[in-house]
C-alpha cells in the first residue's frame, strides 16, 4: 500500500513539472493561436541559465531560488524578443507557416545553446534545504518532489488570480474565447499578444529551471519535452490552463502506475491517452471549438494542366536525370537518390496537405513504417529486395488507414496534433521494442539485391519507384478523387451539399498519402542499408513540412522544387559547423519573405516577364 502511495506522489511531482512546461504553451496558443514548437527550447534555455546561475552564485537556498527566478525572467525576455521580431509578422499566416517558423527557432536556439554551453551534459546541484528524502509510510520520498507537488498548484492559483483579478487577465481570457472581440474592445492587440507570449515563455523557463535538480541539463531537452507538452495541451483543451493541469495529472499518475505493469509504456502512454481523449472529446477536456485560422489570405488558383513548353522542359529534365549515371560522380549519385526519396516524401505530404487540406505534423510515421516493414522483412523473413519493397507501401498504407480513421474526424490544429501523436506512438514503439526493432541500434544489413548494389544501378531503382509514385499522385490530384479532396478543403459544407461523404474521401486520401510515403521509406531504407527510429521522428516530419513550404503549398510543382532546394541546402549546410543555426535562419527568411515558396516566386517572376497578369498583381 505504502509503495503505491509513494508511486502516486512521484506521479504528482511529475505532473507538476509537466504542468509548468505545458501551461505556457496553452496560454500562448489561446491568445495568439500559434502552436509554438520553440516552447521546448524556452524550457531548455531556462534549465541552462538556471544551472549556470545557481552554480556560479552558490548562495545556498537564496541562490537557488534566485537563480530559478532569474532564469525564468531571462527566458521571458527571450520570448518577448522572439515575439516582437518574428512571430508578430506571422499571426495571420496559416498554421503550417507558424509551425515551421517556430521550428526554425528550435534549430537556431539549439545551436546558440551549443555555442554558449558546449556539447556536454550538466548535472545540476540538489536544491539546498530540499536535498534529502523524507519517509512517508516507510517509503523514501525526495523532499524536492514534495516541493514540486506544492509548486504546481501554486502556479495554477497564481495564474488564476492573474486571469480573474486583473484587467490584463480578463482581456487574455476574452482573447482566448473570441479573437474578434479584442479588436472590438479597442485593446492594443500587439501589446496583449506580446505580454501573453512573454508570460508563456516565462513559465516554460520556470519549468526548465525547476528541473535542474531532477535531471541532467542537455541539448536534447527541447524536443524530448515538446511532444509531451503538446499532448498535455491538446488533452486539456488548447488555451485552457486548468485543462493543462488536469491533463498533466492524468498522464503522470496513469504513467506512474502503468510502468509497474509495462515498464516500456512511458513513451507511448501520453499519446495513447491523447488519442482516446480526442476521439471522445474532439476539442480536449476543457477546450471549445473556438475560432481557428481563417482561410489563407490569397486564394489558390484553379489547377491547370501543363503547357507544351512546360511539358517539354520536364521531359528534358527527366531525361537528364535518367542519363545522369553516365556522367555523374558516385557522390552525386548518392545525392540524387536522396533527392528522389525526399521528393516523393514531400509530394505525398503535399498531397495530404495541399490537395487534401489535412495538415500533418507526423507524416514521417508512414515513411518510417515503410522503411521498417522492409527492414523487418529482410531481417526476420529473409525477403529479397523486391518482395521487401512491396511490404513498405502496404505497411505505410495500413498504418495510415488505422491512424487516418481517427485523424479525419478532426480538423485544423487538432488534426495536426493527432497526426503528431500517431507518429510519436510509432516512434516510441520502435524505440522501446528492442528485441523486434533493435531500438536505438536500428536494423542493419538492409542491402539492395546484388544486381542493384552499385550506386548507379540503385539509382535506377529509386528513379523508377519515386518517379512512379510522383506520377501517380499528380495523376490522382487531377482525377475526380483529387478534385473531391480539394473541394472538401475549400468548403466542407459545399462538399456535403453535393452528396459527398467527405470524411471517407479524406480517410482514403490519408491512406494513399501514407502508402506513397511508405514507398519513399523503402527506397530510403535500401539506399542506406539500415533504418533507425529517427526515420519516424518529429524532425523528419518537419523536414517534409519545410520542403512543402519551401516549394509553396499552392502548386503541384511546389513539393518537387521544395525537396530539390531542401536537399541541396541540407547537403551544403550540414557540412558547416553551426548548420542548424543557418538552416533555422533560412527557414525564417523563407517564411517571412517568401510565404508562397519557391514555386510561388517562380510563377510571380513569370507573371512579371510575360505580363499576362495585370501590372498591379504581378508587382506584388
Amino acid at each position: 500500500m505504502s509503495f503505491y502511495f509513494a508511486q502516486l506522489l512521484t506521479g504528482l511531482a511529475n505532473a507538476s513539472s509537466l504542468f509548468l512546461i505545458s501551461c505556457g504553451l496553452s496560454i500562448i496558443f489561446g491568445v495568439t493561436r500559434i502552436v509554438n514548437f520553440a516552447h521546448g527550447s524556452f524550457y531548455m534555455i531556462g534549465a541552462y541559465v538556471a544551472y549556470s546561475t545557481i552554480t556560479t552564485l552558490d548562495f545556498g537556498i537564496l541562490g537557488f531560488w534566485g537563480g530559478v527566478i532569474f532564469a525564468s525572467i531571462v527566458v521571458g525576455l527571450v520570448g518577448l524578443l522572439v515575439e516582437v521580431t518574428i512571430l508578430r509578422r506571422i499571426y495571420h499566416a496559416p498554421e503550417l507557416f507558424q509551425l515551421v517558423a517556430t521550428f526554425g527557432l528550435v534549430l537556431i536556439i539549439q545551436d546558440l545553446t551549443l555555442a554558449i554551453w558546449g556539447p556536454q551534459d550538466y548535472l545540476g546541484p540538489r536544491a539546498p534545504g530540499l536535498d534529502r528524502a523524507v519517509r512517508i509510510f516507510g517509503e523514501p520520498i525526495p523532499e524536492y518532489d514534495l516541493a514540486l507537488i506544492v509548486i504546481g498548484p501554486l502556479v495554477l492559483a497564481a495564474i488564476w488570480v492573474l486571469f480573474h483579478r486583473t484587467r490584463w487577465g480578463v482581456l487574455v481570457r476574452a482573447a482566448t474565447q473570441d479573437r474578434e472581440m479584442i479588436g472590438a474592445l479597442g485593446v492594443n492587440q500587439a501589446w496583449l499578444f506580446s505580454a501573453a507570449f512573454m508570460l508563456g515563455a516565462f513559465l516554460a523557463g520556470l519549468g526548465g529551471a525547476l528541473q535542474v535538480p531532477r535531471e541532467s541539463v542537455n541539448l536534447q531537452m527541447d524536443l524530448s519535452v515538446i511532444g509531451q507538452a503538446f499532448v498535455v495541451v491538446v488533452i486539456g483543451g488548447m488555451g485552457s490552463v486548468t485543462g493543462a493541469f488536469v491533463a498533466a495529472v492524468l498522464i503522470s499518475v496513469l504513467n506512474a502506475f502503468a510502468v509497474l505493469l509495462f515498464p516500456q509504456i512511458s513513451l507511448v502512454l501520453p499519446f495513447l491517452v491523447m488519442a482516446v481523449v480526442l476521439i471522445v472529446r474532439p476539442y480536449g477536456l476543457f477546450g471549445k471549438p473556438g475560432s481557428g485560422h481563417g482561410p489563407a489570405a490569397e486564394p489558390e488558383q484553379p489547377m491547370r494542366l501543363m503547357s507544351k513548353g512546360e511539358a517539354g522542359l520536364l521531359a528534358v529534365f527527366v531525361a537528364l536525370l535518367a542519363l545522369s549515371p553516365l556522367f555523374a560522380a558516385n557522390y552525386t549519385m548518392v545525392l540524387l537518390i536522396d533527392l528522389l526519396v525526399a521528393t516523393l516524401f514531400a509530394v505525398s505530404l503535399h498531397f495530404l496537405m495541399g490537395v487534401g487540406g489535412m495538415v500533418s505534423f507526423g507524416h514521417a510515421a508512414y515513411f518510417g513504417l515503410g522503411a521498417y516493414a522492409a527492414a523487418l522483412g529482410v531481417k526476420f523473413l529473409g525477403l529479397g529486395m523486391i518482395p521487401a519493397m512491396i511490404l513498405g507501401p502496404i505497411a505505410g498504407g495500413l498504418g495510415a488507414l488505422l491512424f487516418g480513421w481517427f485523424c479525419v474526424r478532426l480538423s485544423g490544429v487538432y488534426l495536426a496534433m493527432l497526426t503528431l501523436a500517431a507518429a510519436q506512438i510509432l516512434w516510441g514503439v520502435t524505440f522501446q521494442w528492442q528485441e523486434f526493432t533493435g531500438g536505438d541500434d536500428g536494423i542493419l544489413g538492409v542491402w539492395p539485391a546484388s544486381w542493384a548494389k552499385s550506386n548507379q544501378a540503385y539509382f535506377y531503382v529509386a528513379f523508377v519507384l519515386c518517379l512512379g509514385g510522383i506520377w501517380l499522385l499528380q495523376r490522382v490530384a487531377h482525377s475526380p478523387f483529387g478534385y473531391t479532396l480539394r473541394g472538401g478543403r475549400d468548403s466542407a459544407i459545399r462538399a456535403e451539399a453535393i452528396g459527398i461523404n467527405l470524411k471517407r474521401h479524406q480517410w482514403m486520401g490519408f491512406t494513399l498519402a501514407g502508402a506513397v510515403a511508405g514507398l519513399a521509406g523503402v527506397v530510403f531504407a535500401f539506399s542506406k542499408g539500415s533504418v533507425f527510429p529517427d526515420t519516424l521522428a518529429i524532425s523528419k516530419s518537419v523536414d517534409g513540412l519545410v520542403m512543402v513550404l519551401l516549394g509553396g503549398i499552392h502548386s503541384l510543382a511546389g513539393p518537387i522544387l521544395g525537396a530539390g532546394v531542401f536537399v541541396l541546402i541540407e547537403d551544403w549546410v550540414t557540412k558547416l559547423e553551426f548548420w542548424r543555426f543557418i538552416f533555422g535562419v533560412i527557414i525564417l527568411v523563407v517564411v517571412l519573405a517568401a510565404p508562397d515558396g519557391v514555386a510561388g516566386g517562380v510563377s510571380r517572376l513569370r507573371g512579371l516577364f510575360s505580363r499576362r497578369t495585370k501590372d498591379g498583381e504581378a508587382a506584388q
Binding site: 488558383q301 490522382v476 478543403r489 451539399a497 453535393i498 452528396g499
Partner: protein, 258 residues
C-alpha cells in the same frame, strides 16, 4: 400530392427559441416564399429541412419519407438541392469545375483515381451554365467572381442533379435590383419547365410578391401568417412585424433592404 410536409418543427440554441412549432406543406410545382425579419429563424428552418441541424422536435417528410436524422448528403441524393445564404463554393476551382463536381458526385464518380476531372461532363455542365447565362464565365476562377455571380453559380450547382425540390436561402442577396428580378424570373421559368418545387427566403418584397405562389411569414421563430401575396400584404400582424423591423411595406409593391 405534397412534396414536403413539415410538422411541429422546433429548435432552440441555448436560451434562444430560434424556431418553434412550425408546420407547413409544399405542393408539387409550388414556389413558396419563407419571409421574416432578420433572425426570424428562416435559415435555421432550412438547415433542419436539409439535415444540417437536428431539430428538438418535429418531422419533415419528403414524398412520405422522414428526413429528420438523415445526413445532408443523403437528402441531396433524395433529390433536394440547396443554395446557401452565405455562398459556399469551391474557391480554388473554376466556375465550370464547380458544376462538374456536382455532376461527378451525382454520377458517383468521386472515387475515380485516373480520369481527368476537368474533362468529365463538360457538355452538361456548360448547358447548366447557359441556363443561368454564365457560360461566358465558365473558365473564370471562382475566387474572382462578384457575389451575385457566386449566387447564380450556386443555383447551377443545385440544379445539376435534377432535383425535385430546391431550397434557396436569399438567392438574390448582393445583386442589383434589376438582376434580382431577372434571376428570379429565370428560376421561375426553370421551375415551371422542370416541375420543380421551391422554397426560398428573401428580403426583397418585390421579388417575393412577383414570384411566389404562396408566402409563409416567420417572426421570432413562430409562423405568424400564411397565404397569397395579397393576403399577406393585407395581414395586420405582418405589417406590424415589418413596420417594427423598419421595413417600408406598401400596398403598391414594396421595397426592403436585405
Amino acid at each position: 400530392m405534397n412534396v414536403l410536409e413539415v410538422r411541429g418543427l422546433s429548435k432552440s440554441f441555448g436560451g434562444i427559441q430560434a424556431v418553434s412549432d412550425v408546420s407547413f406543406d409544399l405542393g408539387e410545382g409550388e414556389f413558396l416564399a419563407l419571409i421574416g425579419p432578420n433572425g426570424a429563424g428562416k435559415t435555421t428552418c432550412f438547415n433542419m429541412l436539409n439535415g444540417y441541424l437536428k431539430p428538438d422536435r418535429g418531422s419533415v417528410k419528403l414524398g412520405g419519407r422522414e428526413l429528420i436524422g438523415v445526413k445532408p448528403r443523403r437528402i441531396w441524393r433524395m433529390g433536394v438541392g440547396r443554395t446557401f445564404q452565405i455562398t459556399e463554393t469551391f474557391r480554388s476551382m473554376t466556375v465550370l469545375e464547380n458544376v462538374q463536381m456536382a455532376l461527378i458526385s451525382h454520377h458517383r464518380e468521386t472515387g475515380n483515381l485516373f480520369s481527368r476531372a476537368t474533362r468529365m461532363h463538360v457538355d452538361k455542365a456548360m448547358s447548366l451554365l447557359e441556363t443561368i447565362s454564365m457560360a461566358d464565365y465558365a473558365n473564370r476562377a471562382c475566387s474572382e467572381l462578384a457575389y451575385g455571380d457566386l449566387k447564380r453559380l450556386e443555383l447551377a450547382v443545385a440544379l445539376a442533379h435534377e432535383p425535385k425540390l430546391l431550397l434557396m436561402d436569399e438567392p438574390t442577396a448582393g445583386m442589383a435590383p434589376s438582376e434580382r428580378i431577372a434571376l428570379m424570373a429565370l428560376t421561375a421559368e426553370i421551375v415551371a419547365r422542370e416541375r420543380l418545387s421551391v422554397i426560398f427566403t428573401e428580403h426583397d418584397m418585390d421579388v417575393v410578391f412577383a414570384h411566389s405562389h404562396r408566402i409563409i411569414v416567420l417572426n421570432r421563430g413562430e409562423l405568424i401568417a400564411e397565404g397569397t401575396g395579397d393576403e399577406i400584404r393585407a395581414n395586420p400582424h405582418v405589417q406590424e412585424v415589418y413596420l417594427g423591423g423598419g421595413t417600408v411595406f406598401e400596398n403598391t409593391g414594396a421595397t426592403a433592404d436585405a
